[in-house]
């Protein structure tokens, strides 16, 4: 590894701090720990749990070094000091390292040959690097089941080394905490809440945990087999759409530098795999920018709801559905480019080719694991036929190309197919944080200034800083736009930061008109399905996209002739019924954890309870018919609106009205109407929008009457 930092030995009078690592003088320049100083000096201290973007955990004990006068320390959690003398390769350290690796391997499923991570696994790499030739400890006994409940990821606990990288990624960067350490001692495991499947908890499928997992414990759920099957089915036309961020990353798997434009090569490779057509998702991104801009301008004219939040990122959408139901009205109703493209392909393109939509197999090639989840959403399946049949990530596509023995570097480039193979520069930058906001600003400028609109390079929202803010002046002065109007734009990436921003918006601490959110650090270029790479790699990919944009003839969606044609031939006007039906969607509040709703109010449970300690409370079982089931939602949304107070009022009124034996009152989890105030279920009726102040009134109206009257029996099993 080349060291490009000049390192001169300390000379008297210089105030820089120096330390010695393996006999070399190294300056200390604000690094957090010895490990980083060593890295700067070109020494890679092995580790599993150190990530410069996450907090220091210090659990893997692989990063041990010897410090003179202090003995063995963990280099990741020891601050560098002037004059420190560090040795990274003493006999003692070498012995300890191998021992640690052996201990980890003893508890690790060592089926390397069949592991998808083989070749990219950090554990395998380190075992090789340190020449481990045997593991002195026994094999692990017993296997845990592999968790395949998630549409996007596979979790194999047998390969987890408990480094905690995923845990910190999910909670620190994404603010979710879908996975955590649980149990203790030798039972310790990293699991979703209640040891459920990842698909049944609050995971938003962003795949960032996969990006940091050093082993095969967390991997992308591969769907390459389905693509191969479709390719080899003579009756199926296989169509691929490729997202912007893929072209600047896929080459990395074949030795190209991050950020290298490889679209032409990937198109050629896909064609030689047997794919029939390869289109460019940038076409749909132009469509998204166009529709979203009009939605934005309409909301401004009609007074809201604003700010408008972008909706291209399915992990962010899911996050909102789970945590911020009251914000769903602010999410753009525009489908993501992937789904707009699916719609266009199945409903516009296929019929014009004389193809039945269900004979066209649409494959999305995406940087993203959450896109797998998005494509499977019922909103995007029409009459049993999904708009997007299958989503593969950059990594999966690279695996297919490799399997076919194609040398990406030497394959001659081929163009995308037309007419859906072209997008503007504004669409290309959808792949990086800031890109969607910039695309909208360009589109607005195009609308305001018409033909004379200048090139817009909206640099304030570029780069990988956490939060980017900017104000645009829309005053075109020609009377066409909202003259003198200012648009306040905010851009965030990473859901933890997005969560902070949402709270600030809700509390009125900040005021924006347009907010772009991408769940992954750096935006789609840092997607969970991309080749693994540090922050610098992600930044290089973003720069690659801006380079493509700079060279593009088409600057904004208005410049894309095929977009105009699509409206002419198919959609009609912006905002037409067809556009609405094919390009827009709706969002639904969603509970965070599956399987904990209404567990309390089943007749069977009530019956069992009748024989229990509080039997008198359930004497209702002796009354003819069944007691009325009343449950109050105490899920997050309702809780925050005071559902526990509603329950308290109901409890009091039950006693006051003497209705205890006619009503089974219980709390329940999210009824998925979180955006409307506290939800209450009475029998089979769902009442929303109840508040602590209206609880008594609702009780009298909905519960008292029905419970006192003849008890309804909707033919349910008697406890």
């Amino acid at each position: 590894m080349a060291v490009d930092i000049k390192m001169t030995p300390p000379s008297a009078g210089e105030d820089k701090a120096w330390m010695t690592i393996d006999g070399r003088q190294v300056p200390v320049e604000g690094e957090r720990n010895i490990l980083e100083v060593a890295r700067k000096a070109g020494i890679d201290i092995p580790n599993f749990c150190y990530h410069s973007e996450l907090s220091v955990y210090g659990a893997c004990r692989l990063c041990l070094v010897e410090v003179e006068g202090r003995g063995v320390v963990a280099s990741c959690s020891t601050a560098p000091e002037a004059g420190m003398v560090v040795h990274t390769n003493t006999q003692r350290i070498r012995r300890l390292r191998r021992l640690t690796l052996e201990l980890i391997l003893a508890d690790h499923d060592r089926e390397c040959t069949t592991c998808v991570k083989s070749g990219a696994c950090r554990l395998q790499e380190l075992a090789n690097r340190f020449g481990l030739d045997r593991v002195r400890f026994g094999e692990r006994d017993g296997r845990e089941p592999v968790d395949t409940s998630s549409p996007s990821l596979v979790r194999d606990p047998n390969k987890c080394i408990l480094c905690g990288d995923c845990v910190r990624m999910c909670s620190e960067v994404q603010g979710i905490g879908a996975i955590e350490f649980a149990y203790r001692g030798s039972e310790t495991a990293v699991v979703p809440a209640f040891d459920k499947g990842l698909g049944d908890v609050d995971c938003v499928n962003c795949g960032q945990c996969v990006q940091v997992c050093p082993t095969g414990a967390l991997t992308v759920r591969s769907e390459t087999e389905r693509v191969w099957e479709a390719i080899h089915d003579p009756d199926t036309t296989v169509v691929v759409q490729m997202a912007p961020a893929v072209r600047v990353a896929l080459g990395e798997a074949f030795g190209l530098d991050p950020g290298t434009q490889a679209a032409g090569k990937v198109v050629a490779a896909l064609k030689s795999l047997g794919v029939d057509r390869v289109f460019d998702t940038t076409f749909a991104a132009d469509l998204t920018a166009w529709e979203e801009t009009h939605e934005f301008l309409r909301r401004r004219k009609e007074g809201g709801p604003l700010p408008l939040f972008t909706s291209c990122c399915p992990a962010w959408v899911r996050y909102c559905e789970q945590y911020h139901a009251d914000l769903l009205k602010n999410l753009s109703t525009c489908r993501s480019p992937q789904q707009m493209m699916g719609s266009v392909l199945k409903r516009y393109w296929a019929p014009r080719q004389g193809l039945e939509p269900d004979r066209v197999f649409v494959v999305s090639l995406m940087p993203c694991t959450a896109k797998k989840f998005e494509a499977a959403r019922p909103e995007f399946v029409r009459e049993g036929c999904p708009d997007v049949d299958c989503v593969i990530t950059t990594g999966e596509a690279a695996a297919m190309i490799r399997e076919a023995g194609i040398d990406l570097e030497s394959i001659p480039e081929e163009p995308f197919d037309n007419p859906l193979g072209m997008g503007s520069g504004a669409a290309v930058i959808f792949g990086t944080t800031g890109g969607v906001a910039e695309a909208v600003v360009r589109t607005v400028a195009g609308i305001v200034h018409g033909q004379d609109a200048p090139r817009v390079d909206f640099t304030p929202v570029r780069g990988h800083r956490g939060l980017k803010e900017a104000t645009v002046d829309l005053s075109g002065g020609d009377g066409k736009g909202e003259s003198g109007d200012r648009v306040r734009v905010a851009v965030v990436h990473g859901l933890a930061r997005a969560g902070e921003l949402v709270r600030a918006v809700k509390e009125g601490r900040v005021d924006y008109d347009l907010v772009e959110v991408m769940a992954c650090p750096g935006g789609c270029v840092g997607g969970g399905g991309q080749p693994v790479g540090p922050g610098e790699t992600r930044a290089a990919r973003s720069r690659g996209l801006y380079r493509i944009d700079r060279r593009s003839q088409l600057h904004r969606p208005q410049d894309n002739p095929h977009i105009a044609r699509l409206y002419r031939e198919w959609l009609g006007e912006v905002g037409s019924h067809m556009a609405h039906e094919a390009l827009h969607t709706r969002y639904h509040p969603h509970r965070r954890i599956e399987g904990v709703r209404a567990t309390a109010s089943t007749p069977a449970a009530a019956g069992a309870a009748a024989a229990g300690a509080e039997g008198d409370a359930f004497a209702a079982a002796k009354v003819p018919g069944e007691p009325l089931e009343v449950s109050v939602c105490v899920g997050t949304g309702c809780y925050l609106r005071g559902s526990h107070h509603v329950l308290r009022v109901f409890n009091r009124l039950l006693d006051e009205r003497g209705l205890r034996d006619r009503v089974n009152l219980s709390a329940t989890f999210c009824l998925e109407k979180c955006d409307r105030g506290v939800s209450v279920k009475v029998g089979d009726r769902l009442i929303t929008g109840v508040g602590p102040d209206t609880a008594a009134e609702v009780f009298e109206r909905e519960v008292s009457g029905r419970a006192a009257g003849p008890v309804e029996t909707p033919g349910r099993r008697q406890g």
């Binding site: 909670s171 979710i176 905490g177 879908a178 996975i179 955590e180 350490f181 649980a182 149990y183 203790r184 699991v191 979703p192 809440a193 209640f194 040891d195 908890v201 609050d202 965070r592 954890i593 399987g595 904990v596 567990t599 309390a600 109010s601 449970a605 009530a606 069992a608 309870a609 024989a611 229990g612 300690a613 509080e614 039997g615 409370a617 449950s631 105490v634 899920g635 997050t636 809780y639 526990h644 329950l647 308290r648 109901f650 409890n651 039950l654 089974n664 009152l665 219980s666 709390a667 329940t668 989890f669």
Partner: protein, 192 residues
């Protein structure tokens, strides 16, 4: 068993949370009280606690499974603890433990019988070393100088008690009534 989220019971849960304060640092005291109230930590209760404290449910589950004193499984009506402290250990706690498990009819790897009558656990020193080996029932009745035979007989007595009095009056996963608590105290006194 009374559902964890039954209206009045739920109010108690809420009181516990309010009393301790809705902050993440109250998690352990809240779980402790909840465990006392429910005898275990039901999933929906943990989820609710997470909601109220603004913590991810996974984090609450992590804490609930980390400490040995918490249980995420319902416990039997009789929780039999076999002391395995040093004194008890050297005086044959293992064979007593084995005898209790066999008499209770526990399958390997299980701690609680399917009918929720017995939970059998091995614990650290209960502080009655002079009577080693020691067995406790529901933390109230203490039995010393146990042998395999006496252990089996104890389990049988408890079983009979359960049969004669099907409504649990103490220490059970579903026992919440205060009357039950009093009965338990009485029984404990008599046995001790």
């Amino acid at each position: 068993m009374v559902p964890a989220f039954e209206g009045r019971r739920f109010e108690k849960l809420n009181d516990i949370i309010e009393r301790n304060g809705r902050t993440p640092s109250s998690l352990i005291p809240i779980l402790q009280e909840v465990q006392e109230e429910y005898r275990y930590l039901p999933e929906e209760v943990l989820t609710y606690v997470a909601t109220a404290l603004g913590l991810p449910p996974s984090a609450v589950f992590g804490v609930a499974t980390f400490y040995a004193q918490f249980s995420t499984e319902p416990k039997g009506r009789f929780v039999i603890k076999v002391c395995d402290g040093t004194a008890c250990h050297v005086r044959g706690a293992d064979t007593v433990h084995f005898a209790v498990r066999r008499a209770a009819g526990l399958e390997p790897g299980r701690k609680t019988t399917d009918d929720l009558t017995f939970t059998v656990e091995q614990v650290n020193c209960v502080g009655a070393c002079s009577m080693a080996p020691v067995v406790t029932v529901n933390d109230r009745r203490v039995y010393g100088d146990m042998t395999q035979k006496e252990a089996a007989a104890l389990v049988e007595r408890l079983r009979k008690e359960a049969e004669e009095e099907p409504v649990p009056t103490e220490g059970a996963g579903d026992g919440v009534g205060t009357a039950g608590e009093r009965a338990a105290d009485g029984a404990g006194g008599a046995a001790g």
